[in-house]
């Protein structure tokens, strides 16, 4: 791994003047964002602030109305979402995105198939894919899923589905990881475990996450961007942002 580069802030994903209109409604406006290598960047804000829309814009699941997005030095403003994923930016979804009727192992293997060029062979038997088991099992072991290797993803607990989703994402070894509320609906135990996993994976890659759990944000995130009504309200480290009176009134809705 890059021993020299990791402490030098390097922007891997940036957005300039990003905006999205739905009909006459402006969901996101003038968002500037710089996500750095080996840093965890949180995107927070009240419900309906446009966090998920920003995610969809950055990953190109939605086409922006205005602005420009750059990933690893390449302009991706008009790139298709699957291409963006192949370039090294992989996202998760707010609702757990597993393949429910595949086993845990198969879920991870689906991610491995494309880079291993084992995705289009319609003439080869399924057991061809067993050559990917070794790598998949290492990922399962890293994330504590080995016991559920052969369980159907649909039968996992909610927290484990989220962990499986992270395992599947990591299988692609992405440069930039976008996690949409990775801890939503989890118990305390799972939250701690997933926070630890995210901290670990962010040592060598950039993470941008939407998160409501502010103690997690305070704990693991280096940068915080606060969105309100589709625009950036504040930006900085957690201490700076949480001290900002505008953030306190917008986010908590209680302060003067």
């Amino acid at each position: 791994m890059g021993m020299v580069a990791d402490h030098e802030p390097r922007v891997v994903l940036s957005a300039r003047g990003l905006g999205k209109d739905f009909g006459g409604f402006t969901a996101v406006n003038n968002v500037n964002l710089d996500v750095q290598h080996a840093r965890i960047h949180a995107l927070i804000g009240p419900n309906g602030a446009g966090k998920t829309t920003v995610f969809n814009l950055l990953t190109k699941f939605l086409q922006p109305t205005r602005g420009q997005i750059t990933l690893l030095g390449t302009d991706i403003t008009r790139t298709r979402p699957d291409k963006v994923a192949r370039m090294g930016m992989v996202r998760s979804f707010q609702i757990s995105a597993v393949f429910p009727h595949l086993t845990v192992l198969e879920n991870v293997r689906v991610a491995l198939q494309r880079p291993a060029e084992l995705a289009v062979q319609f003439w080869r038997p399924l057991k061809t894919l067993n050559q990917l088991n070794g790598r998949a099992e290492v990922l399962l072991e890293d994330l504590g899923l080995t016991r559920w290797r052969d369980a159907r993803a649909a039968d996992l607990s909610y927290g484990r589905k989220r962990v499986l989703e992270i395992a599947t994402t990591l299988a692609l070894d992405p440069e930039v990881l976008l996690l949409d509320e990775p801890m939503a609906g989890m118990g305390q135990e799972d939250v701690r475990m997933v926070a630890e996993i995210i901290r670990e994976v962010a040592r060598h890659r950039a993470v941008l996450m939407v998160e409501h759990n502010l103690s997690v944000v305070a704990d693991i995130c280096h940068q915080v961007t606060v969105l309100q009504r589709g625009e950036i309200l504040a930006h900085g480290d957690y201490a700076t942002v949480s001290a900002d009176p505008r953030v306190r009134s917008a986010y908590m809705g209680t302060e003067d």
Binding site: F61, V90, F93, A97, A119, F122, W123, P125, L126, V138
Partner: protein
């Protein structure tokens, strides 16, 4: 790599009977199909096999890709025209005639698929319907199809220059072999690395995209494969009946194959075969009676939708007996 040898197999261990039961049923079915022409009218059996393969090809799309095409008659009937023309007018041997039909159907599938594939659900179905209607009018007007008359008295010829297909028994075993080959291709296709990606796309398309899969291209691949196999069935049918007809490119034919597949059970390999068997048998028996065929098949369809939501085979797989025997259904 010591890791993957420890448990290299898929988790079938939970249902150890599955393999044995499936092989036994497969052998029984093969035995029945080999013995059948000595007890039943062979032309009827051949028709049944052609439609069974057609429905199984269609199910590759509906059941295993999650796309409802309302234009599959184009590939079935189109291939019948290509095969019939090549064999009758150009004097091609039957195997090359059928290959031309398959290639033609695949080409039509590529065009139709490329246009329709980026649309979802009902829009996809409507585009395939519209394109297949255009093809119907093309067949009505084009010279080589002979309009309402169709291409008649197509010679069956000699397979590989040796086997005389005008002998009904020879023809039957040829059709049976093609059917078996087609089913084998479908089975392999579904249980392959490509099939795994198709399954992933069906289960969660957005997630598949976010893992870098260009979903439209995978769907198009399945569409072309489905069209080619439907073409295989159509080409063989043209030789069986020695006739290529407008009936096989109508929208009713596209509807019929949907009916067969739903009746039998989508997302199962055997379902469409059973569904096709049921529909063709009903049509054959009712054709000689006073009952109106379409009304009876309509009633059967309604009953199935109400009672067997998963189709006949799908319902059996989901039943206690089916699960005890180790079957799983895709849906």
């Amino acid at each position: 790599m010591a890791r993957d040898t420890s448990h290299a197999d898929e988790p079938v261990a939970a249902r150890p009977m599955a393999g044995a039961v499936k092989i036994a049923l497969l052998l029984a079915a093969a035995g029945l199909l080999i013995a059948a022409p000595f007890f039943l009218y062979p032309i009827f059996l051949m028709k049944l096999l052609c439609f069974a393969l057609f429905a199984a090809a269609f199910n590759l799309l509906l059941g295993y890709t999650g796309l409802l095409s309302f234009g599959h008659a184009t590939f079935f009937g189109g291939s019948a025209y290509f095969t019939a023309h090549a064999v009758k007018v150009w004097g091609w041997p039957p195997e090359f005639g059928i290959l031309l039909g398959v290639a033609g159907a695949a080409a039509l599938g590529l065009v139709m698929g490329a246009i329709a594939i980026r649309r979802q659900g009902i829009y996809f179905a409507m585009i395939t319907l519209a394109l297949s209607q255009m093809f119907f009018f093309f067949c009505l007007q084009a010279g080589f199809t002979h309009g309402e008359d169709g291409i008649q008295s197509v010679p069956r010829g000699h397979l590989f220059g040796v086997i005389d297909l005008s002998q009904t028994t020879n023809m039957y075993f040829f059709v049976l072999a093609v059917f078996a080959l087609g089913m084998l291709v479908i089975w392999r296709f579904v249980n392959s690395p490509f099939g795994m990606i198709l399954k992933a796309i069906r289960e969660n398309e957005a997630r598949a995209i976010s893992l870098g899969y260009s979903v439209a291209e995978y769907k198009l691949g399945a569409f072309v494969m489905s069209a080619a196999l439907a073409g295989l069935a159509g080409g063989v049918k043209a030789l069986v009946f020695q006739f290529a007809t407008l009936t096989d490119v109508t929208w009713q034919m596209s509807g019929e194959v949907i009916l067969m597949t739903l009746l039998g059970g989508i997302g199962t390999l055997v379902g469409p075969v059973v569904g096709a068997g049921l529909v063709v048998t009903l049509q054959n028996y009712l054709a000689t009676s006073d009952f109106p065929v379409t009304i009876i098949t309509g009633l059967v369809f309604m009953a199935c939708v109400l009672v067997f939501r998963r189709g006949i085979v799908g319902e059996f797989y989901a039943s206690r007996l089916g699960r005890a025997l180790g079957f799983t259904s895709e849906r």
